[in-house]
Subunit: 192 residues, 2 copies
């Protein structure tokens, strides 16, 4: 296994343990045991449990930022397409990083400073991108006049809450769920 | 302070500690100290920490079930009105029970069986009410044809996720937030 693959494996195993047993109650011993490597090897990859927690958060936020920036920089997508893409990205993390995503939502407060402030800044960058596309859609006539703050929370709520119910490999893919959510929010559910 | 008021006070103090320090790391000693009562008094109200956790969950779900049933039994509300009311109820818990609501969403797995199964059944009753109103709205021509499962998760996502960002006493009340969410979901955000 390559170093990157091993790091990714350790992160997901540790995330699953943090999720099941709590961050504080999970020891580096237990993580090493569950991964099936020696404790010294674990420390080679992650010098501390905090480091693991920080990297999980970094990975989640950087994946969705990078995915959005790539789509945005292609320069052809409408605001609707970009916002639906952002919802797809978030829900897709359930398929690729289910444990880390739960840790991302529930164990943010346990990140030590100054790393917590740094992760919070990156989360703010992502929310800024969301608001930017809502504003662009309003300016360009794609959207009605909106309260951007509430629209941001509506989109994040639908997408993020999926970590509580979405099961990868179930009847719908992340892309299908995001498309269904976007269609309801965009067109509305009231009969016309 | 009456017994009921004392119980409610203990639940909110304990919820806040569970939230800040984790369920496992919070002792009955610590809860008694933070409430400012003797440990024997705490045990008089709650014979165990599990009992506290169970009552927090029971209280959250029973409050929103009772509120919906009262509105429903009045018999005059449309499906839209009832669904917007359900969103208001959930977001309002932030104003009245912020600590317990966070525990309700993040510490469900720590409830011991058989109580966990019982709470899950009550959650299912609530989701059933939501689906029932979506179906009723479709049948009665209020709503477009919908995938009821995704519509349920869209509504729960917007409302429930508010526990991550809504601050009581801020610029908007729970009712205003729910009205804004419902308006977007109902009418859609796309320009027509």
């Amino acid at each position: 296994m390559s170093g990157d693959a091993r790091r990714a494996q350790i992160r997901e195993v540790a995330a699953d343990l943090f999720d099941r047993s709590g961050y504080r109650d999970t020891s580096m011993d237990r993580i090493a045991e569950e991964v099936g490597i020696k404790k010294a090897s674990l420390y080679y990859y992650f010098p501390s449990k905090d480091r693991l927690l920080i990297e999980m958060h970094d990975e989640m936020i950087e994946l969705i930022i990078a995915s959005h920036e790539a789509r945005m920089n292609a320069g052809t997508a409408t605001a609707s397409e970009l916002l639906r893409g952002m919802m797809t990205d978030i829900i897709s993390l359930q398929e690729t990083h289910p444990g880390s995503l739960r840790v991302f939502f529930e164990h943010f407060k346990e990140i030590p400073e100054p790393e917590r402030a740094r992760v919070m800044e990156r989360r703010a960058v992502y929310e800024g991108y969301l608001r930017e596309q809502l504003q662009r859609g309003m300016d360009g006539g794609e959207f009605k006049p909106l309260d951007i703050r509430f629209a941001t929370f509506a989109i994040l709520g639908m997408a993020n809450w999926s970590y509580q119910w979405f099961r990868p490999g179930g009847t719908a893919t992340a892309e299908q769920v995001a498309a269904a959510f976007w269609s309801m929010l965009s067109e509305g559910i009231a009969a016309t």
